[in-house]
Symmetry: D3
Subunit: 302 residues, 6 copies
């Protein structure tokens, strides 16, 4: 399967994905451009420009040295193509697929110089995104058989939210808010400022737009009872509760709104938390503590 | 100690640092601005703007929940100040200092709304940078008593190189190349393209600027011997060698140029690698697999 | 009341507003800057620079020649201050207030040159925003005594959405989606693509994030009945229905989700549509066909 | 007639226009890009991405629901193509042509998703521009048989001057100054600052570049007489004069320089003002109070 | 005289200039910022950050080693202030003044590090601008006693037009067109395309805006006669004519429109060309072949 | 030889260059774009758009009127292509080649309008770069038979460093530091701040990254002796020394590190300075006082 010259348009066609929200090139291309500018500096790739003939061509494979879930093929390919619009690429796998160690993620063909100059930035992008997708898919697996959806938070790398959130989706997770403008999430300090849970919910009810969902954070079952008595929210964030408290919280809510477990949940605890019956488990470490995916570019000159 | 209104100029004065390359506000402010724009979206902080009175003021402490090494106070404060130029801040610690869990990193005073709206972005920046500094300082500790300097690579988060590299310095590490234009690093593919180690070094010698250092990667002692026979480089990167090979390599080089151990060195191995006598140990995981530093903003309304 | 030097931070304090989502300077300043660059061109204000002495100072009043609702004081003042950071300003009124013809909206004091050079851009911004707020407040008045909230659409001037949407809020209206990423709105073409209303709702249910609200457009009562049978949406957009059909639609929905009347509703019809009992009335002409507010800058040299 | 892939270069060729100053893609593309970024937000088109298959293709017609004058086809097509470089388009009409209600302005063919995601922004741009062109062409018609040229002012939407001014030209109008650097226009406050009409004209004569035209605003016939006595200007702006005063002013000027009627001229008055013999009539409402042109995108899946 | 903290607003006040078109900080600050970013790269000023204590303060004088005309003090000071907003500066001279070798142009006081880091960029800007002003003032002197105004062309350094044109004004020269949108200048190729001088002038007459001046290039007296017979232009560019032909051309034009001598006029020829009676002499070398002004920063630590 | 549509990738292939560091389009395209925006302003090329039919096509030759060394063909062609992506170009010469007066540097074919609108900007870029390359090649010739390499400094035009430095390379020169982050250059003020040569070198030794070269400026042979006694630097800048002192300095250094002559060396002196045996001669005037290369665009309509 060939990724043809107009990478933008074949976005999801080629790789046959049907996920809800694909990556829009208009939105991620500035991220890729900045990363390349940052790496090329003012003088460009001194080593490659000195040692590789401008007419040399190469075929290169992006190979993974780990098993995991793929994400970020398009931004990675866009990195190479930003230095060489003539580069062609074939991708034996798609974003969202699981691969074994040793798998080839993409085969590139084109001029050797731009391929080598773009390598590090492309792998930095792809490695981070595969890392996020892989750890997400593990958390998702731990929830198998439960109703719990694993979601990420706003704890993303500065400037990379669009890529981080997409990688979580590719790993099978969901996205919590994209930003402060994407729904209302009433936290403890907001409740204090408003003068209590009741006043907070009332004020939000009177002001929030009709397309804005409302979630409220509670720390105790007492607070939860207050919210249950008041209604007016779409979801409740159960903050830092142990599994027995979570189980009781889910029982009390009884489907009246979504329940989200949050707060310091470790990879080991995900399964147990999911077993409490919560609808959502939000995990900051999906994106704030990313283990890079080990990738290499195996290049042969032609 | 008060960080006064002109944050830029007091940069290093206030915190009394004497490190070699401090962070230039002109260079990191665009990173902070983009991160805020990303989080505020088009509609801004719906929750805070709905629930917190615009006249409410607050004092907030940035508190760490982990022990480690601090880095990123200035970009973090700049984040708050970009939404509220009137905010004042005191920092009981400085970048590069080690703190215990529970330590206060900064005390902020100002309008509550912008403080709350900037919180997540500021902590995302500071958390990542403290994370990098802390893991770096551990690697540096593992090298104590040896000549080895721990250095980072170009495996940084896209767009965040300036922050990632600075955090490494704050952790006591050194910086390898900032980008492809920052020195010549001859890798295996460059050697092949040039037609061998001899031709590569010769070509570089004839073309590299006089302010450009040259390092070459070797995979075997045989290759090292070739380089030793030729000279003409400032450093040699010993790629993926076990410690006994590294020891022998260091012996053969005998101070004629710097030796750098690189390639898949795990945290556990750092000490052993340092003991081989190499001058430098480069570690991608300092920046590509960052464990976020757990921080919280403890806010009280006034 | 004086708008002091740090305009950003006093944003809402000074004018005492308590609206839900104020304008964030970080977000609107680039709009103001571009408008000034567009007007100053390469050579700047040839006339003023030729004829007004650089040391001349002036006091100027922004006076309205129409009665209406005020919006945009802060971006307008920011325009002047971008050319003259020393300018001081007093605002006898606030955004969201109604004024008579002849009212003074702001009194500026500072160097004459930048005040005169910024005048046109500032009035272009303020005039458009007051125009939007005023027409919105009339539509809102027409709904008095009903439950209907007047909301704007995405039919805003390219690049000015943040200002247009804010002006609607100042006029007493609400905001529909800020962008394509701000909630799901299933329109006729989406229904066709999905293979029918049932499939569309089902697919959305399986994929939409938990903070994402869902609205669906229906053209007929039959379609509405399908939606009622399925549930799974937060709101229904009743497209191009006459008032009797709207009344019947509202009756059938019976509060199970929000009802929005939309499609070619003229200013004259707003009251009658509101009387049908719909929750929301969306009006493209609030922002796509703006009647500028007639303002003048009355300047006296000092 | 097919608008082929390289939209930029065929700009005016394809549509066969011979107008003086066409739209330069280099200059309007940033406007289009910002408008798309504003609408796509961080997460993109949630609805379309959820419900429309990535492989679905569509044909769409942009159809007008009003009669009027067309302007903005190229920026509108550029909007679609920025999300889908492979999109093809045929335009049965050209900018500057008059169309009946129901006319097809463009036929698009390509992937359904980007077409649907770009729709609103493209129609916002095209609707505003057709609206400006249409109202301009009406004002131009009202001047038929007179020497009067209808011109727009600097009262354009912030950031959209290039598009607004072009739309006026397509409607048959002319452009007054593009910005403060585009000629000298001496207004009342400039005259006061300079110390009178004589001093203002003298100072301008001594300082203005030789490629800079000079126009002066007069409020009374007395002032006009002063200007006539002095000479040294290219045009005189007759501000807020009734038609009999305008007629007398034109008589006194007697072709010695251009005469421009300005100030609160309503659509109904344009014809009568033109009949006074003035050379130019400037109308702020051509651009500051735009009635959007009602357009729809009629889409069929393939 | 102290340049206080708000450099923008005191722009022309402090230095007491009354020139027609001063430099607008909003417009030149991006130029300064880019030049600093270019020089600081990713890692900043390695040398200064390594060797100069962050608390060290300094006083520095910008001293000229040549006699000439000053231009560019404000952008130069802005360069320093962009790295140190607290820097204070006194300027014993103003833009447009003539100075002897050894003169002090500015005295700076502030933190040593940012002063040293900004030095090269500031001097690059100031040196180029003083160089342009100085060579311009010499050309202006050569025209003394004649009516000829010396003007620059569009042959400016890419991206620096605003600074180059301003420096010419400070040297006593005038500015020809700022860009392709700043007046109509009909050159030989335009005449050919239009089908002759007559058709070109006629077409321009029918299409140019009323604030647009028109100049036409002629190569021979015959062409000049055609233009004289037709009228309809504001100026005529006499291209590559010797002084006797210029004299005859001026005689024939006899004040009916402005005459501009252009085309390969060397510094030695300026006086003779001016003596022909032309109104304008345009010289590309004022800006395309700039001899840098030799400046130094004499710094003393405090 | 045809420069085909994808200019970026054929960069060095087509023109067959094998120089060390070619120009990266990603890095210079923003420079070209800004220069075009600066020249087109808001209204574009009024003259060409008025007088040249949009369907007219042309062939144009870029011809030099001087003998010299070529540099900048790619940015120049990119200028034309940014206004007309369909333009084709053939280049009979390559960057770095020497040409006689009258030589054709490029032959362009395409639509006439964009070719004429881009002409001035393209020639401004190419003219400056050829000017730099030519004067560099003369300095290089003056050093023939010696070991001296001619290098440029950081005295480049603001914002054009990447182009200026490349042009020096094309003229046969080398590049000194690209920016303040590109190596350590210890100047007199740094030495004073550090407390002497010894302390400065020691501090640098302890802090500089291992890929950072160190050069130190000395004004006297005594200072040189101090450096020789200390070692620890890669190069020494011999500032403002006469040739006999330079000769003695070179003798004393005796190859222990590179020697660079710098400071006010005029074109006439380059040969004599080279004869002293220094390794490098740095010349600010290569880039700060550029004599533009006289070029013309000879255009014929088709």
């Amino acid at each position: 399967m060939t990724v043809n010259r107009s990478l933008r348009t074949v976005d999801t066609d080629v790789v046959g994905m049907t996920f809800a929200t694909p990556l829009q090139p208009l939105l991620y291309e500035p991220v890729v451009r900045r990363a390349l500018e940052e790496d090329l500096g003012c003088a460009g790739d001194l080593t490659t420009d000195t040692l590789v003939d401008p007419t040399t061509r190469a075929v290169a494979r992006i190979v993974t040295r780990r098993a995991g879930c793929v994400a970020g093929l398009f931004p990675a390919l866009a990195t190479f193509r930003m230095l060489d619009p003539e580069l062609t690429a074939e991708c034996p796998v798609s974003d969202g697929e699981h691969v074994d160690s040793g798998a080839t993620l993409a085969v590139l063909e084109g001029a050797a110089r731009p391929m080598m100059s773009a390598e590090r930035v492309a792998l930095n992008i792809l490695g981070r995104m595969c890392g996020i997708a892989t750890v997400t898919s593990r958390a998702v697996s731990a929830c198998e058989g439960t109703r719990a959806v694993v979601v990420c938070t706003r704890k993303t790398a500065p400037g990379l939210r669009i890529l981080d959130k997409y990688a979580v989706r590719m790993g099978g997770g969901g996205n919590h808010r994209f930003g402060l403008d994407d729904g209302i999430l009433i936290k403890d300090n907001h409740i204090i400022a408003a003068g209590g849970i009741g006043k907070a919910i009332a004020r939000v009810a009177g002001r929030a737009g009709h397309m804005v969902k409302v979630e409220i954070e509670v720390d105790t079952l007492d607070q939860l009872d207050q919210v249950l008595a008041l209604g007016g929210v779409d979801a409740v964030l159960l903050d830092n509760m142990d599994t027995s408290t979570l189980t009781e919280a889910v029982r009390r809510v009884d489907g009246r709104f979504l329940t989200e477990a949050s707060g310091g949940i470790t990879p080991d605890q995900v399964g147990a938390v999911a077993a409490t019956g919560v609808d959502l488990i939000s995990l900051g470490w999906l994106t704030h503590s990313v283990a890079n995916f080990d990738l290499s570019l195996e290049l042969e000159y032609q």
